[in-house]
Symmetry: C2
Subunit: 221 residues, 2 copies
């Protein structure tokens, strides 16, 4: 797969089929992931693949509860606003994300594979999320949808660490949970605020010197 | 460029030529970067491209100093060990990274372009480093080398924010500094600890079920 196609079409794909992901595909994903950079090339990372049904069923109620907490805390204001004005474009987009997130909350144990990344002493996340995003891009090339979520680390880190046997006393910390599975939907370019609106040059809030109204991929012929 | 080629060969490329990066190339890089995921698709990010010589010269001494501090603090132990046993493979690798990092410390103002990413309220980094890594991968496809470094945010966040005019009172926080330029060296697959040594299945410290001694890319024919 072309790099730009992967970068433009690897969107959050929460709704997936229960079909298992073959071991050789998992291997290609992880072999690509560990090529990512990490501070001083320290590779202070571990990855835990979870496909055991009993383990997923222990995690599922925690995840469902965390999703509920998300709407009651971080996104309470946005949710109230979206529900008050359900026909606004921003509301439509927000409620779509909410519905999709709730799907994962309700169907966690049916997702065939999860990837839990861990780091030791990475205060910024810069030494783990490149590897995580590489795994998600490689998954895309393999026809596998993924979604990164960090809500388990916000709401239930201790419970998850205990279920997975993580030696937290050694400083290992969960950095999220990535769902992986063959998608039920179709790939497409996600809607985003244009680059020139969020990019400045040399000083904050200056014009960056280019402007794009439509995504540059796929190339117009 | 093939996705896997990009994932395997986008290694830290600190040594670059002073040649400027054309605006349309910068635009393609940033247009790809903003397709990355962010928590709840909030896109709470800003990017600042720095190519102004005077601005780079203000940042350069801070960066050089931060590199020096790095060896005196985080990596002091490893450096002492590497210098004591310079012929060990680990030492050779560490001293190579150090030499390369020092090059960037000494030549900061000669690098044609820097990308500074910022987020509002992203405690994990999971909502910015996918976009940053996408920018670095897109740069790779454009023949541009990059390196992510977070040392300015560790040692001189206030000074850098002031130089760049960042409204920190609004919660915007610098998440690193990515150098960009046409490389003087050649691309290659970086050496990493194999995936199966850092990946477990269902429980910490278990066998993941696959083993790879050589990188899976390029494919063996």
């Amino acid at each position: 797969m072309d790099l730009y196609e992967a970068l433009y079409t690897t969107r959050a794909m929460r709704r997936v089929k229960p079909d298992p992901i073959p071991l050789d595909v998992q291997q290609r994903i992880m072999d690509a992931a560990v090529r990512a950079p990490s501070g001083g090339n320290q590779q202070g990372w571990r990855f835990l693949l979870v496909d055991d049904q009993a383990t997923k069923e222990k995690l599922a109620p925690l995840y469902k509860d965390a999703v509920g907490k998300l709407w009651e805390t971080f996104y309470a204001g946005q949710l109230a606003e979206a529900e008050a004005r359900p026909n606004d474009p921003d509301s439509i987009s927000f409620l779509k994300v909410q519905k999709s997130a709730n799907w994962l909350g309700d169907h966690f144990a049916e997702v065939p594979l999860f990837l839990f990344p861990f780091t030791q002493f990475d205060p910024t996340g810069s030494s783990i999320y490149p590897a995580v995003w590489s795994a998600m891009l490689a998954a895309r090339a393999e026809g596998i949808g993924s979604c990164i979520t960090v809500i388990l680390s916000f709401f239930y880190p201790n419970e998850v660490n205990e279920i997975l046997g993580v030696p937290t006393e050694e400083g290992w910390a969960m950095q999220g949970c990535i769902s992986l599975g063959y998608p039920t939907g179709t790939w497409g370019v996600a809607t985003r605020r244009p680059a020139h609106e969020v990019t400045y040059r040399n000083q904050w809030a200056t014009d960056v010197g280019f402007e794009t109204t439509e995504p540059l991929w796929p190339p117009r012929t």
